[in-house]
Subunit: 302 residues, 2 copies
DNA sequence: ATGACTGATACCTTTCAAGTATCAAAAAAT
DNA sequence: ATTTTTTGATACTTGAAAGGTATCAGTCAT
């Protein structure tokens, strides 16, 4: 209401009251002000909006149409004000969220659903993006929040662990080690590995390699694959074995076998990361809602 | 654009240029004007919309949201102006159209479709209403245009005949007169009649009675029915015969027979009627389009 | 006829929006 | 490091336009 042009506000009042003096009282304005405002409006539009005899005021056909449209314009303006205020409090606007395959196949959907339930007026832009690219984008302000594979380092970044998945050994069905209930890292020292492409799976692959190194061997990688399906396919084709975080999706395949990885407490950490210097108020609301609603594993800060 | 509050216009320009001086040039306004306008806007909303360092201007999250909503408000305001101008020329707005059963079962649908093709921005309110009620409503300004059964009388009313239907005699299938190719009025003098209810079918019934009177007899009416289906049903039930205007719909029934009414040139006239003193500019456009596009039977004026 | 009511008009007052000049800070050029 | 340029903010002045008062001129009811 505040930011609608006075002429329009005056027209609405007169059109509703169909009476200049009463409209004036309603607006706390003298009657001649309205006579003049309506005349100017009509001159500018070159359209007669109100038919006034000395005794009676009525809307013309054009006036009726204009009134209806003025209502819509007024609503649009009020909505603009309300949404700006909400956006300032982080209750409206846009949030650009990055995610990895591990995140989108894991906890992310339910987290986003929770957030949407709380703040439906925020629209979320989802961007598929590798972990290290996400970190750069967050520092560069191109991404508001990232869901990525830890560990995370970087000044000015905050993080919360939203999920930690134990590792599983993935074997072809008829592999000798498939007999065991669980497989230790040591038992894999002579195996050949299928792993994800180093460029896009940088974080995950380096963790697997570090695990093997701790166990006293360097894994022999015979194949690199660009995505999860390829990795499982290559294992099924008996090209090698692999290590993969535990998640429901894996267990559906027939031609491969998963066994818990014994002898390590390492897990694949999925972290929610954001910049402490973010200018988007939605970020704080998002983080608050996620951490307060969902049972989060751990809370750390850089 | 003209009727949007200056503050909003200024904000849009600065938000688009992200530069106060350039925005000022675009608006033909000095730069300090914009500094002040934006500050006032922010004070009123209690929201920072633009982040300005001494060297760089950028939108805050709230500013982005507000800008998007301002675009919508601006469009709404522009639309209001355009629609008012169009309404004044009769190219937008509302038209209240009355119709009878004869009209809606006859030419009216195609006439309305033609009009809608020409002026889609006019919304038409259709009102089912008897002929004499329509005439009253048109004179009282409650109806813009009527499609009704003639003849029409009334000062200040204009009319165009949009359809004239020859009369048919409606007989039960096994009636003796059904043998004839056509049936004269005289042949019906000894028959009993099923006719429409006098109140709602006033015009039509009085015409039928007048026809009979001219032919030298007064029809014996044994049944009055409220609608067309009832009339046909009662004829099929051999309660009597009737006279009805020719239209495609009638010929679908099996249990009745229609024969042309011989010995008269009288026809059922469907008239488009409107007030010559109508204040709705759409009326003139409507009449123009109907009379110019459709092959109209006859043109008369009171 | 008369008085009450209502919108338009003329005229005056005030407000506030726009312009000018200038400042202060930051980036770019030297 | 210093100077120049760029750019938004501020202080002050001016003027147009918005608002108020008084009044007029029809219209309607009594």
């Amino acid at each position: 209401m505040r930011h609608l042009q006075p002429h329009i506000r005056y027209f609405i009042a007169v059109a509703e009251e169909l009476h200049f003096r009463r409209a004036g009282e309603r607006l706390h304005v003298a009657q001649p002000v309205l006579s003049r405002a309506i005349r100017q409006l009509e001159e500018q539009l070159e359209v007669v909006l109100l038919q006034r005899s000395r005794r009676h005021v009525s809307l013309t056909a054009a006036g009726r149409v204009f009134l209806e449209e003025c209502y819509l314009a007024r609503e649009a303006m009020e909505r603009a004000e309300q949404r700006a205020i909400k956006a300032d409090k982080g209750e409206a606007g846009r949030l650009i969220v990055g995610y990895t395959d591990f995140a989108i196949n894991g906890v992310l959907p339910s987290l986003l659903a929770t957030f949407h339930r709380h703040l439906a007026e925020v629209s979320i832009d989802l961007v598929r993006c590798d972990s290290h690219e996400q970190l750069e984008a967050i520092e560069g302000g191109r991404l508001d929040v990232g869901f990525l594979t830890g560990p995370v380092s970087g000044a000015g970044l905050k993080q919360v662990t939203v999920h930690e998945a134990p590792y599983m050994v993935v074997l072809p069905s008829h592999h000798p080690l498939a007999e065991l209930k669980s497989v230790s890292l040591k038992a894999l020292s002579q195996e050949v590995f299928v792993l994800g492409n180093v460029h896009t799976w940088r974080h995950f692959v380096s963790q697997i390699k570090a695990l093997c190194f701790e166990a006293g061997f360097i894994p022999r990688v015979v194949k690199e694959a660009p995505n999860s399906d390829s990795i499982f396919g290559l294992v099924a084709a008996q090209m090698g074995v692999t290590i993969y975080p535990d998640c429901d999706l894996n267990h559906n395949r027939r031609d491969i076998v998963l066994r818990p990885l014994a002898g390590t407490k390492a897990k694949l950490m999925t972290e929610m990361v954001w910049s402490s210097s973010s200018t988007n108020p939605v970020v704080a609301r998002f983080v608050d809602i996620i951490t307060q609603t969902e049972p989060v594993v751990e809370h750390r800060q850089n």
